[in-house]
């Protein structure tokens, strides 16, 4: 099994997958699977648990294929749209499982809320990781040093040799892009 990055840097504006998918190209579904099934599986496992996660992945991609006319490339990313479908399937699954368990109302509500929260959290992480991977390389590197190596902007200047003004502007622009993407694709959706 080939590990695929969640998103590759070349998924830029010239990426034709969204258009081919919307047109019903069957090879586009396979590409979508190669690119994003890991993210969907991760979301499903965090929400319904590992044992039933693959069923959610299957249901998500089949539903995505069947409802492809409703995908509008201008309104958001393919990953964000896929996450919306997967999130709804996973949370519904948890709810129906709780009903089948004949749990008390209180336990059922609690379970459903835990699933909602877990799913929101995972979706936010997945879309932000994707956006981070899509940033211009130098900007991406600066943000990674801030996030993962916990460097201050001055330490980033020392580590990269970039001018202070450039580091600050990378941080500002990169953060703005992550935030916009989070607001478009990662914000919680209705029930």
């Amino acid at each position: 099994m080939r590990p695929a990055p969640l998103s590759e840097a070349d998924h830029g504006d010239d990426d034709d997958l969204p258009v081919r998918f919307a047109k019903g190209d069957e090879t586009a579904l396979r590409e979508l699977y190669d690119r994003y099934s890991g993210a969907v599986l991760h979301l499903a496992a965090a929400t319904v648990g590992p044992a039933e996660a693959e069923d959610i992945v299957q249901a998500t991609f089949v539903a995505a294929w069947q409802s492809r006319p409703s995908f509008d490339p201008d309104r958001g990313s393919l990953l964000g749209w896929l996450m919306t479908i997967a999130r709804r399937r996973a949370v519904d699954h948890v709810r129906s499982r709780t009903r089948a368990d004949r749990a008390t109302d209180e336990a059922r509500k609690a379970t459903s809320e835990v699933a909602d929260e877990a799913a929101d959290h995972v979706v936010a992480r997945i879309v932000i990781a994707d956006e981070l991977a899509n940033l211009p390389l130098e900007q991406q590197r600066v943000l990674q040093l801030a996030f993962f190596d916990d460097l201050t902007h001055e330490q980033i200047v020392a580590a990269t040799g970039l001018p202070l003004g450039t580091v600050k502007s990378h941080l500002r622009r990169g953060m703005a892009r992550l935030r916009t993407r989070w607001e478009v694709d990662g914000a919680p959706f209705g029930p």
């Binding site: 590992p50 877990a118 997945i126 600050k168």
Partner: protein, 232 residues
């Protein structure tokens, strides 16, 4: 009073350095302080994405089931759309079908085995509540789990994707402040275990399930890897 400039807002959010806010503007200005909070949340989520960059795709068996369902020949009755769709069926599907047949045979054998196991065993206990266990430590990146509260006052813990334990993993109940109750071994982090909750412990008081990495012989709580909460 002039607002903080965008660079200062970002630095406050990332580094929280009061030197970037010499006039203590943030304490007085709701607008800037909301802005910093939003940026902080984004940075917090971004910091927790370690391990998400290289998620391997789901297994091929899942793809086979998707292809079979998504590209299945439509029911013969509804007219035009059906005809158009069946004309487009790819030639490779015969190979796909063969693989699906093998997968189906394997699944059938597994199902029979499971049926045998379940029909012979006692009825499984009822699940009263479920908590999703999420990563609480970068060392656990990619790990997930689920804690199910059974009516038998037991916890069923299912873990997946944790790194192989150097010692072992342990299940704890945590009150969110200072008290923890060790419930027992969670194995190597890749299996399902059932542990018993002491009769004196109230799950309402200890709503948090914690999975820790323990060194052999370590008595106290080790390194927290996953956490989840009941009833929220």
């Amino acid at each position: 009073m002039p607002h903080l400039d965008p660079d200062q807002l970002v630095l406050m959010a990332l580094e929280g350095d009061p030197a970037d806010d010499p006039t203590a503007h943030l304490t007085a200005c709701q607008e800037c302080s909301r802005e910093v909070d939003a940026l902080r949340r984004v940075a917090g989520i971004a910091r927790s994405t370690v391990g998400l960059r290289e998620l391997p795709p789901a297994p091929d068996r899942v793809w086979n089931r998707i292809a079979d369902e998504a590209f299945a020949p439509p029911e013969p009755s509804p007219g035009r759309r059906a005809t158009a769709a069946s004309r487009r069926r790819p030639a490779a599907t015969a190979w796909g079908r063969w693989r699906i047949a093998v997968a189906a045979a394997i699944a059938a054998v597994c199902a029979m085995t499971l049926t045998l196991v379940f029909t012979r065993g006692p009825q499984p206990p009822r699940v009263v509540a479920t908590a999703v266990l999420a990563v609480n430590n970068p060392a656990a990146a990619g790990g997930t789990g689920r804690a199910e509260l059974l009516e038998s006052r037991q916890l069923r813990i299912t873990l997946q994707g944790l790194p192989a334990a150097t010692g072992y993993y342990e299940v704890w109940l945590y009150d969110g402040h200072q008290r923890m109750i060790g419930l027992g071994d969670a194995g190597s982090g890749r299996q399902t275990v059932v542990v018993t909750i002491p009769a004196a412990a109230d799950i309402g008081e200890f709503p948090i399930v914690d999975i820790s990495a323990q060194r052999l012989g370590q008595q106290e709580h080790g390194q927290s890897m996953l956490q989840g909460r009941f009833g929220r």
